[in-house]
Amino acid sequence: MKALLVAPVLVPLVTLILCLLARRQARRVAVLSTLGALALCAVGGWLVAVAAGGTVLAGQMGGWAAPYGISLVIDRLSAALVAITGVVGLATVVYARSCDGDAAGGRDFHLFVQGLLTGVCGAFITGDVFNLYVWFEVLLISSFALIVLGGGARRVSGTVVYLFLNLLATLLFLLSAALLYGATGTLGMAGLAEVFGAGEATPGATVALVLMLLAFSIKAALFPLFGWLPASYHVAWAPVSALFAGLLTKVGVYALIRLVTLVWPEAGPAHGVLLWVACATMLVGVLGAAAQTEVRRILSFHIVSQVGYMVLGLALATPLALAGAVFYLIHHIVVKANLFFVGGLAARMAGSERLAAMGGLYAHAPWLAILFAIPALSLAGIPPLSGFWAKFVLVKASLDIGAWVAAGVALLTGVFTLLSMSKIWNEAFLKAHPDGPQALRTPARTRPAMAVMAALAALTVAIGLGAGVVMDYAVAAAAQLSDPAGYIAAVRGEGG
């Protein structure tokens, strides 16, 4: 069991080391990286199978007993996120095979992708606040390298924005972790849940905790701290953008969900604040997208708006709302990464990602148009795709407790999302290319990219059609989340 517990971190880490050893042969690195991502998918699938039965895997690292060692904990939510991380990692690595044209390709890309996966998986399975900080750093340093990969004035410029705002968030996180230790004497999430659950938290501890939630909010790109995201994601190489869009903000959202459900399982003042933040995030994100005229910038603003939905689920704090947040998290990672994949290929065919300079793709590449339509409609929440169920559950949860404003904002955001997606559809796919149809290109080797996009689109449809199964899992995961006692028992239960 312990091997399975550390596998989500070990698999990408070992892959990273193997890639380093084989670094002289670019092709071998790519193969190793693909195999590593495949192995991560397998580990994720296994974890989901184990966790689905209600088992909470927990263990202490380094052989120190429960309150002293660093805990790793995998419950349903963590298992599902590890699995989906594996899927997105694999998709990115395979998709990158279709994009040779950019200087960012090559072995460095694979090294940093594996580094990023290590950090993301570590963050999903750790049960210790300081350890979470370390995993954030691992994924952050990999993401810094990834975003600037390939160089050029534009990329360096976006990296500067990304670098400094994330550095500040990280420093804030470190400070809050230290203060939290100073005020409560523990860094374990289970320990924190006990202190706060017993009502023994001093005002200082509460302040430190709020500071930490603020740091997570920057990572998750919540209103009003989202400025760094749309200012930087669009400069990176297309596969890198997709990987970031799928995973990075979601680590912040996961950290918010994990910590808030552990320390404040009942709705309280913090949830009220989160509710307003969630509504503002949804609206501002989607309105910001309306003002944009480039594919990836539109999609970047939609990441912000979608994060609002997940936080809405957390803020409502009913079991149904939490299940909705979990469902949304799973659905969104797949759909968002896929949209960035499609956008990247569409831009290469049209020769630009400015909507004004695009067009004619529906006639040129009908398959690509269909592969865009599926995740785009899913993002907007059209039945029977996955996004419909995610939004439906959240709106129902809002109406159940009389949060009319939140429900209204969620529905309105859905309408605006559809508007944005039809803007991309009209401009990039339907209208004629401004330079005539001969300006459209057919890039070499699109087959891996097509396979990836088709697989992710199929996954979206599968989540939509099999919503019952996924929703049952999400409801069970939410039940675990709203029961901190079970989490504490799992961590304390094993003597190390």
Binding site: V156, V160, V161, L175, A177, A347, A357, A444
Partner: protein, 130 residues
């Protein structure tokens, strides 16, 4: 003692924020470093500074006045990570100077806001980069 450290941390953070508000990217990088070090100092101080003795524990006994070893372990990690990030930030700074010919923050970051350039027609695989 904690009061003095707390005041120092506050002063350093204020200094760091002031430096980050500068137009010059070099000073922004240095400002982040100053804030980082202030926070490292804060991390050390959360373990309380009363302890004098080293925290070597013989079996079954705890030395009187032992210093809290945990924040020291934490801050070691944080220093190493902070150093790596600082070096990376310097690397980006140098690239920004090479690519943009300036270290003025606004002019460097403005480039990301310009319209996306047209993509070159795909060339055959460029293979391994140097």
């Amino acid at each position: 003692m904690e009061i003095i450290v707390a005041a120092t941390v506050g002063l350093l953070v204020a200094l760091g924020v002031w430096m980050m508000l500068d137009r010059n990217l070099v000073r922004v990088v240095l400002g982040v470093v100053v804030i980082g070090n202030a926070i490292n100092l804060a991390v050390v101080s959360v373990g309380r500074l009363g302890g004098q003795a080293a925290a070597f524990v013989a079996a079954g006994e705890v030395p009187a006045q032992a210093a809290n070893p945990l924040p020291q372990a934490l801050v070691l990690t944080a220093i190493v990570i902070g150093f790596a990030l600082f070096v990376f930030a310097l690397g980006v700074l140098k690239r920004a100077w090479v690519e943009h010919g300036t270290t003025e923050t606004d002019r460097v970051t403005a480039q990301a806001e310009t319209p996306a350039p047209d993509l070159p027609v795909d060339k055959p695989a460029s293979g391994e980069r140097a």
